[in-house]
Symmetry: C2
Subunit: 321 residues, 2 copies
Amino acid sequence: VAASETEIIDRFFTHLGAMRGDVRLGIGDDAAIVTPPRGVELVMTTDALVEGVHFLTGAPPRSLGHRALAVNLSDVAAMGAVPSWALLALTLPEVRTDWLADFAAGFGELARLHRVNLIGGNLSRGPLTITVMLTGFLSSGTALRRSGAAADDGIYVSGTLGDAAAALALTDGKLSAATEPAQWLRRRFEFPTPRVALGQAVRGFASACIDVSDGLYADLGRILGASGCGAVIEVDALPISDALRTAAGDSAWRWALGGGEDYELCCTVPPGRSAVLAGALLDIRGSLTRIGWVRREPGIELRRGDTVIQFSHSGFEHFQT
Amino acid sequence: VAASETEIIDRFFTHLGAMRGDVRLGIGDDAAIVTPPRGVELVMTTDALVEGVHFLTGAPPRSLGHRALAVNLSDVAAMGAVPSWALLALTLPEVRTDWLADFAAGFGELARLHRVNLIGGNLSRGPLTITVMLTGFLSSGTALRRSGAAADDGIYVSGTLGDAAAALALTDGKLSAATEPAQWLRRRFEFPTPRVALGQAVRGFASACIDVSDGLYADLGRILGASGCGAVIEVDALPISDALRTAAGDSAWRWALGGGEDYELCCTVPPGRSAVLAGALLDIRGSLTRIGWVRREPGIELRRGDTVIQFSHSGFEHFQT
């Protein structure tokens, strides 16, 4: 990497993503310079993808570029913030220009869509690791946290759940499906949709929010832990894609509850605000599914009609951390 | 790492570094929340240390924690900015609490010294890689860039040069030294001193600045390239430590010119400002050594008295990128 580091950066990364007016100095100096808007708070997050841990050797680079940014966009979305500036630390075992071009295309396309400017980074030789740090902003004091849920709040999730975990299980041979649903599920894993507009839309209505990266059961548990309460989930209300239902049949709800890597949002909304929430969702053409409610008693109770059912979380911890 | 990720973070990282009043929400949610001061620009940078590339297997974790932050502090220093918030993405092959404790101690000590708050991060299983992202701030429009050098500016460097490269050469058996200078040089490599106060002090006086991470010859070349000029360096003026002189003898200047990883600052100062610069340095008890001057003709000319001497840069590119 040494000799051609500058060339690689110039060719693939210097003008990647949106060109923002608040970026005073981008890639090429000791640090980037940006001007935050007045009266905002900044949110900052970092997430890494490591070969052999978060993706398999030979994973398509366009997907990796997309996912590396998407997982960070998802964190910013869960705060209700507007994403702005990204840094990329890339460790590569070798320089392959076709790989880099595809990686940059996947990253750049998603960055432009969300007006994110890649302002700096680091390129090293080493085992393939992709680390992105993303900043966003929002009006002071308006961020969605995990800790605001209260008894009787409704629990909502975006999109469908369990698709990415099912895609991994298809690759591992632990699940099988026809070509079409298999492709659809794989695409859900490779090109997750961070719910950036949705996060901003529910800010002001939601009492707590988290992005579903480790599976709904684990991530809802984090909201409940931070908020000091518990929840009832109606298993039949979990949003499940046709593809997952086709592939997993009657156990689809287990994938939806335990499977990670979907990058949907899970939020809680006080009962008095559900009507105004519905209007806000209409405005962005977004949708949320109500899957249960918060209650005082700790723990997550799963119900199917009047029956309380059991769920063992182990076995779905694919690619954790 | 999976099961105990939260425990590791709580135990070693949640309260690492300075506790800053402008951090609204630190580690533990989807993202951190910080409030930038009014009227500032932010500088942002990231740098990674990869095992086998930037450090050897078995390197002391306290040094790694220090260096991972120091290399980023050095970039912020080179912009003349005040460091503030750090993110840490750590990829570990295994969880060893003694290693983590020492790593956190090295990181935390330097962070507290520079009032840096660790506000977030990511912990993954995988090959040992340490990636830090650091933010700092300064008054709008005052950042030191690489591009402002002009003919007749003096060229200055902080500290001494070549020590870290010599330390690596000692480890590799390419250089030998008595115990005392060897230990001193090794300490310079393991615990470099980022010149944070110095960077802020020269802001307003310096026309350009860079941190010396790849060696003076390469990094001064970047200032000259960005500024569209060249330089004359007086080889005998290069600041060289007693330890390096003992170890390297007459070729010490080659180490000072080519060796990287020192994290000193190199800046250029217009001739009319050198007196006021001296006063500013007195104020922070910092020092800079004048090693040459900028001129219109491109390239770096090395002089010893009236003789122009040659220098081959190859062979000193230890641990590049």
